[in-house]
Structures are given as structure tokens and as C-alpha cells.
């Protein structure tokens, strides 16, 4: 049971980083990135390929972040002339493109089998010690990512991002180049998502194309929406909640007589229901953004 709890906490921290990244893009900046898993995947595959090639993970992880940041930069530049809704659809297409490359380019990505046998984190440690060390590392990186995102939101650049989200025409009228702002945010968010992806690969010692399905983006979005769009703490809370539910619901079959093949559907149903409930009862999320909390007061 303790091992399971540690696993849930580690996965929560990893997906917490991905959620903080998405929150920076969508919550703070209003960029509807439906292809977040692509940035996560680029980081994951980059780390897998580099560690398999013999690079130690402390060097591979920053390289994975750089690769994902480049991916974010490219998505921002490619879609610079698209309206927000079309850009959102384009990100979905980019995510599928990345997954299809991972699926088909066997020589680089291992194809459908993915890349396994990766020298994971802390190879010198065993069992519980390894899990604890991994948790400490993941928690530390989540904390660092959250602090960077929070600090960024408090800077003048962060205010411009919020203005870009609320009123892009006004942002432009004040002399702000919103295309450059978007590209910067996507590059920073990409680096964060790449960190999450790289950590995920190192923790599980495996990455495959099935882990880059659009459903994964839906899960990360769920974390951010549940927690509260625009609030860094909300993204972390959302990640913990969704990961715990996602991992815990299959154990219901031990308590209630449920066929095991039903539990997979049940967890998707449960998460969907919770999202609906939160959207209806507390649309600003469990930990609303300060600006949004006061939004209703605007005449």
C-alpha cells in the first residue's frame, strides 16, 4: 500500500509539472493548447533516446526540456497568424503528428513497442529507497516549476500575458507584440512539459506512443480546470486529485463486486462526472485565480 501511495505521489508530481505548464499557457495566457501531450512526448522521447545512447539522466533531462521548448517555439511560430480557435485545433493536429512519428519511425522511437530498458533514476538504490528518492526529486522539480510559473505570473510579462488573455486587442494597442509573447510562453511551457515527460520516462524506464494519446491531454486539461485555470496552486491540487482518482478507482473492484474490465471505463466516467460537477458548481475551479475571483465585480 505504501508503495502504491508513493507511486501515486510521484505520478502526481510529474503530472503536476505538466499541469503547471498547461496552466501557464492556457490559464495565464489564454492559449488553448490541446496538444500539450506533444510537448510532454517530445521531452519524454528525447530523454529516452539520449539516455539509451549513453547520456546520463542529469544531462538528458535538460536536453529533453530544450527539445520540448523548441517544439513549443515551433508551434507558436507556425500558428502565429491563426485565430485562437483554429490554433487550438492545430495543436491537436500537432499532437497527433508527434504520436504518429513516434509510432512509425522505428529506427528512432522504437515504433509501436516504444523505448524500454532505459536506465532509470537512482540505479544504485533499491525498492523503497529508490521510490522515496524519486519522489523527493519529482517534488523538488514540481516546486521549482511552480515557483518559476508563479514568479513569471507576477512580473510585468505575466501581466501582459493576462492582458493578452483578457483583451488581446488592448494588449496590441499598448504596444505589446502578442505573437512574441505567445511564442515565449509556449517555449517556457514546452520546457516545463518536457521536464515532466523526461521525468516520466526516467521513472517508468519506458515510453511508447500509447502514452501520447489525445486522452492524456484531456487528463492534463482536467487537472487544470478542476484546480482552477490561472492558479499555479490549483494546477498542483488538480494534478494530485485526478492522479489519485485515476490510479485509485480500479481498486474499487476489491470493495464492490465489479468486473475488472469495467473499471477502466469507470475511472473515465468518474473523472468526467467530477469535471462536470465542478464546472456547474464551482466553474472557476477548486482554487480560483485571484483575478477571476474578482472578475464578477467588474461592471
Amino acid at each position: 500500500m505504501l508503495e502504491f501511495c508513493l507511486h501515486v505521489l510521484i505520478m502526481s508530481a510529474i503530472f503536476g509539472i505538466a499541469a503547471v505548464s498547461l496552466n501557464l499557457q492556457a490559464g495565464t495566457s489564454g492559449l488553448l493548447n490541446f496538444g500539450q501531450i506533444a510537448l510532454f512526448g517530445i521531452g519524454a522521447y528525447a530523454v529516452a533516446i539520449l539516455t539509451r545512447a549513453g547520456l546520463p539522466w542529469p544531462a538528458a533531462l535538460p536536453a529533453g526540456m530544450a527539445a520540448a521548448a523548441l517544439g513549443g517555439f515551433a508551434i507558436g511560430r507556425l500558428g502565429r497568424d491563426l485565430a485562437a480557435e483554429y490554433w487550438a485545433l492545430a495543436t491537436l493536429a500537432v499532437a497527433e503528428l508527434v504520436r504518429l512519428v513516434a509510432l512509425n519511425e522505428d529506427w528512432l522511437t522504437g515504433g509501436p513497442q516504444g523505448i524500454g530498458g532505459i536506465g532509470g533514476l537512482f540505479p544504485g538504490l533499491d525498492g523503497m529507497a529508490r521510490a522515496l528518492a524519486t519522489l523527493a526529486l519529482a517534488a523538488l522539480l514540481l516546486l521549482g516549476t511552480a515557483l518559476v510559473a508563479r514568479r513569471l505570473g507576477e512580473t510585468q510579462f505575466g501581466r501582459v500575458l493576462r492582458l493578452m488573455r483578457e483583451n488581446p486587442d488592448l494588449a496590441t494597442a499598448l504596444g505589446h507584440d502578442i505573437v512574441t509573447c505567445k511564442v515565449k510562453v509556449l517555449a517556457i511551457g514546452g520546457a516545463m512539459a518536457g521536464l515532466a515527460g523526461g521525468l516520466y520516462t526516467l521513472y517508468l524506464a519506458f515510453i511508447g506512443p500509447d502514452q501520447l494519446l489525445p486522452f492524456e491531454t484531456f487528463l492534463i486539461w482536467t487537472m487544470v480546470v478542476l484546480g482552477g485555470l490561472g492558479n499555479v496552486a490549483g494546477a498542483v491540487v488538480g494534478a494530485l486529485l485526478v492522479t489519485t482518482l485515476y490510479a485509485g478507482i480500479p481498486f474499487l473492484k476489491d470493495v464492490v463486486a465489479l468486473p475488472s474490465d469495467l473499471t477502466g471505463s469507470l475511472r473515465v466516467f468518474a473523472i468526467g462526472s467530477i469535471v462536470l460537477a465542478v464546472l456547474m458548481l464551482k466553474p472557476q475551479g477548486l482554487v480560483p485565480e485571484r483575478l477571476r475571483r474578482h472578475h464578477a465585480q467588474r461592471p
Partner: protein, 241 residues
């Protein structure tokens, strides 16, 4: 220091020009009002000058520099143009001070701080509430904040899209008097689109009346005010003044 529009054709959809070979000029330190019925192209003209709409033909020139190909943010930062949109022209969740800082982000930090304090002195109502959220301000105070913010980088040309929209008559008079004070103090030229013809003409030097995207009438503010035809046809039910 002149702002001019030469033979500009522009519109939002292909083959449908809102501005039809329109030309106007704003001399340094002048207040010029653009009047006309709804759909005559008044706001479209401002959007074309600021760069939100690309003209299909013609030129927009500021201080001798052709603005073709210069994006909006560069016109604001580098070409001395400031633009105050008609609606949603402040960022409500931020404080008054933060709104002003947003307008002067491209000014060097020391100059920005000095400018901010100077503007808060010029706008004592805003200065007293500098730490308050902008969405706690009244309609008139919001317009003052939008104007003050536009002045942060020290523009040479101020473009105002219906600054009196939604204001009470008392506030409107105060706002127009304030626009004249800005011109006198800052030396900026003002190009202003307005529906409240008589009140805006009182503070203007010259005016253009647009109809169907063309200049129907131009002259000094006094001439336009006294033109009964213009008053009856385009500025309201009766003579403008």
C-alpha cells in the same frame, strides 16, 4: 510631426471598401475630430491608422514615415502613435498604477517611474487611488485612466475612438476640456472619432465629416458647427449648434 492619410482604401471583407480613397491630415498640436453617421468609416479610419486594418491602397504617414508594413505594436512603440479604443480600454483586475505601467513598459525604467509620477500628479483623482483596482473606477475615471496610460510613452499622435461614449453630459464636458489640456501640455496632435458632434467640436481645431467612407465636408470646427446641412444630415436631427 504631421499625421496624414493619403487616398486610403480599406475594408474588412474583400471587394467591399469601407474607406474609399480617403485623405485627411492632422497638423502638429491640432485636435481634429472625425464625424459622420454610423457606418461612415470613422472607427475604420482609426483602425487603419493604428495598423489593425491593412489598407488595400493608399498610405498612412506619421512624421514623414510611411507606416506601411509596420505592425501595430511597432507603431505604438516606435512611431509616436497612441491609441485608445472605444470599449474595454482598461485592464480592470489590475490597479491604476499597474495599468499605467503596462502602457509604459517600453520606456526605460527610470523615465517610466518619473513619467508615472508626473501623470499621477496631473490626474489627482487617479493619484489618490493609485493602488485601487481599475474596475472600481467610474466611467469618466476609466476614460481618464485610458488617456493617461496612452500618454505614458510620450506619444506625438493620440488616436481616440469615441472617448465620450457612455459618459454623462457633465463628465463629457470635463473629458473634452481635459483632451484640450492634454494637447496644450503634451503638445500632441489628437485625432478623435466622435458621435457627440457639438461638444467635441467645441474643443477641436478642425473636423472632417465622413459619409460612405469619403470626406463629405472638411473645415475648421467653427465652420462645421455652423454648417446647417451638416448638422441636419449627419450630426443629429437639427443643426449641430
Amino acid at each position: 510631426m504631421t499625421l496624414s492619410v493619403h487616398e486610403v482604401r480599406a475594408g474588412y471583407v474583400p471587394d467591399a471598401d469601407i474607406l474609399n480613397s480617403l485623405s485627411i491630415t492632422v497638423q502638429p498640436g491640432e485636435i481634429v475630430t472625425i464625424l459622420g453617421p454610423n457606418g461612415s468609416g470613422k472607427s475604420t479610419l482609426l483602425k487603419t491608422v493604428v495598423g489593425q486594418l491593412r489598407p488595400r491602397a493608399g498610405r498612412v504617414v506619421a512624421d514623414g514615415r510611411d507606416l506601411a508594413g509596420i505592425p501595430v505594436h511597432r507603431r505604438i512603440r516606435d512611431c509616436g502613435v497612441a491609441y485608445v479604443p472605444q470599449l474595454d480600454n482598461i485592464f480592470g483586475p489590475l490597479t491604476i498604477r499597474e495599468n499605467l505601467e503596462l502602457g509604459g513598459q517600453f520606456v526605460a525604467p527610470a523615465a517610466r517611474r518619473a513619467r508615472l509620477e508626473q501623470l499621477l500628479e496631473h490626474y489627482p483623482n487617479l493619484g489618490r487611488k493609485a493602488g485601487a483596482r481599475a474596475d472600481s473606477l467610474s466611467g469618466g475615471e476609466r476614460q481618464m485612466l485610458a488617456l493617461a496610460r496612452a500618454l505614458m510613452p510620450g506619444p506625438r499622435h493620440l488616436l481616440l475612438d469615441e472617448p465620450s461614449a457612455g459618459l454623462s453630459p457633465l463628465m463629457m464636458d470635463e473629458l473634452f476640456a481635459h483632451i484640450r489640456r492634454i494637447r496644450d501640455r503634451e503638445g500632441v496632435s489628437v485625432l478623435m472619432v466622435e458621435q457627440n458632434a457639438a461638444e467635441s467640436l467645441e474643443v477641436s481645431d478642425r473636423a472632417y465629416v465622413l459619409v460612405m467612407g469619403r470626406v463629405h465636408r472638411e473645415g475648421t470646427a467653427r465652420e462645421i458647427l455652423e454648417d446647417e446641412t451638416v448638422g441636419q444630415l449627419y450630426l443629429g436631427a437639427g443643426p449641430a449648434h
